[in-house]
Amino acid sequence: MKIAIRTLDHTEHLSQEEIQAIEAACAHYEQRPAAAIDALMIVQRRQGWVDDSRLEAVAGLLGMSSAELEGIATFYNHIYRQPVGRHVLHLCNSISCWLCDVDKLADHLRERLQLEFGQTSADGRITLLPNVCLGCCDKAPAMMLDGELIENLSAEKLDEILASLEGGEDG
């Protein structure tokens, strides 16, 4: 019986710019698979998360198996293997923020967004996630919104930020 072996065409799922950026990362290391985390972060930029086909394409490009790359992708907190919203909000839940009553802010967020941590709003606008200590302990509570740290949070400040996001709060 003849077994058909599917060869992956990387360019199908990755843009030229992405391939170039991954190749540049590869040049920093002794071995191509060492660029796995950099590569996953690069492809995540386009749609906010890494889907199966792009993960397979990256694995092919780096000369490793998809299973191995999946093991790496699922290990790290900031590589998303599920779709996320247009905005991703990580609220710090570690000790210095806890001492500054971040739990109350978490309740406020849950109620205001009608979301549990780990969920994305039905309109795809926002994903709510926890985060371990963000290193903002002197200005707690803190969060990371779309990759940028925001400190000295209060319920009022959160409301303002949510309202200012694209399309307003209900947009």
Partner: protein, 423 residues
């Protein structure tokens, strides 16, 4: 008072290459290039610099295990551990945002001292502003010929790359960090072989904390005696970036001589917020044992804090006030460690969620007397020698000391069937 690290620090407008050079920047590296690597190592040994990442291992001694000379492997690596994820710790972020060139120079000195031809700066991904400023500093150093081939005609060449991590606490463990740099899951490696012999890609590697490296420019520029004299009254040498967070009036960071006391740091923070009293404190991050107000006058140095039953750790104090529940605090800490366990060894992978479950039961008033015994047993099951790395023993530290110092609080939760702080 001499503050060699923060003298260069400006978080709003960090010094560019010219500004850094105008204030003595890169003079330490220039001095290093005039010495042999062995002489640089000796300077750092004489300075009595100890690792600022938490373990306090003497930096010069750590370097001393790297094979040197003609027969040594050609490829060696210097790695900066800037994966600052210890809860309550924010000192490296401050240094990197405010004085990026200081760290780059420190890395260059360390790399030269061990004969490394390539250096990696392993930065946690959440520190985006750090990444932008460090990238800029690296570019400036490259353009000025401070990095690259045959630096300043010395014959020494060094490449420096920034790696931003995708987030896991275990990456701070040095062998796990090496796996992460190799693009793998960040499981710790068994030792021996130690990274100094077989580290990144199997080659000799030194991993130093960012703050440790920031001390090197000063040591090389002004000498080991000057560095030791910075902390004349202490068994340790140099200055330390100390911090405090929690319900204090003005949480923050200060560069102080090694051996400053927690009381001094608390005073600099303006004391506790109105109406609050200090119940206990963790001296250096989540993975250090609780100390009490009666310990506030002990010098914040490695051996003195160890003698009091804790660890200096990162020097980032977390203050527990009298209106927050000690059981709730321990629960929060253990939940963090349970989530961040890499899952490699059983005591950590299973023990931490088990401890979190029991603590959660007690905190919500559903605990029983046996739960306290069970927690004590878990402290033993997850202690040194029973786990693959120091993550679970680090988690045990605040739990066992919390059980000891706040025994009454634990008991009240069980007796009253609720958290007394939530009434």
């Amino acid at each position: 008072m001499d503050k060699p690290m923060t003298a260069h620090l400006d978080t709003q407008n960090p010094q560019d290459l010219a500004g850094y050079r105008d204030t003595g920047g890169y003079m330490g590296f220039a001095r290093a290039l005039d010495m042999t690597p062995a002489e640089v190592q000796q300077q750092v040994k004489d300075a009595n610099l100890r690792g600022r990442g938490g373990a306090g291992f003497p930096t010069g001694m750590k370097w001393g295990f790297v094979p040197m000379g003609q027969d040594a492997p050609k490829r060696k690596y210097l790695v900066c551990n800037a994966d600052e994820m210890e809860p309550g710790t924010f000192k490296d972020r401050w240094l990197m945002e405010g004085a990026p060139h200081l760290l780059i120079e420190g890395m260059m000195i360390a790399a030269y001292a061990i004969g490394a031809s390539r250096a990696y700066l392993f930065l946690r991904g959440e520190y985006r502003l750090c990444a932008r400023r460090l990238e800029q500093a690296i570019r400036e150093a490259e353009e000025a010929g401070l990095l690259g081939k045959d630096i300043q005609g010395s014959g020494y060449s060094l490449e420096l790359h920034l790696h931003t991590s995708a987030g896991r606490y275990i990456c701070g463990e040095e062998t796990a960090l090496l796996n992460a740099l190799e693009g793998k899951r960040a499981h710790p490696r068994s030792k021996p072989p130690f990274p100094q012999i077989a580290g990144l890609f199997g080659q000799p590697t030194i991993v130093n904390n960012a703050e440790t490296l920031c001390n090197l420019p000063g040591i090389l520029r002004r000498g080991p005696a000057w560095f030791r004299d910075l902390a004349a009254d202490s068994d340790d040498a140099g200055t330390k970036i100390y911090g405090i967070s929690g319900r204090v009036r003005q949480a923050g960071l200060w560069e102080l001589p090694m051996g400053a006391t927690a009381r001094q740091i608390l005073d600099l923070a303006g004391g506790m917020q109105d109406g609050l009293k200090l119940r206990g404190w963790l001296p250096g991050g989540a993975s250090t044992d609780f100390l009490l107000p009666e310990h506030l006058d002990i010098p914040m140095e490695y051996d003195a804090i160890a003698k009091a039953g804790s660890r200096l750790g990162t020097g980032g104090i977390i203050a527990l006030d009298d209106q927050h529940c000690p059981v709730g605090m321990v629960l929060n800490l253990i939940q963090f460690f349970a989530q961040e366990s890499c899952g490699w060894c059983t005591p950590c992978r299973d023990g931490l969620p088990w401890a979190a479950e029991i603590l959660s039961r007690i905190e919500t008033g559903k605990g029983c007397q046996e739960d306290l015994d069970e927690l004590s047993k878990l402290c033993d099951f997850m202690w040194m020698g029973k786990t693959f790395c120091a993550l679970a023993p680090g988690a045990v530290e605040p739990m066992r000391s919390g059980l000891k110092y706040f025994a009454d609080d634990f008991q009240q939760h069980i007796d009253k069937g609720c958290c007394p702080y939530r009434q």
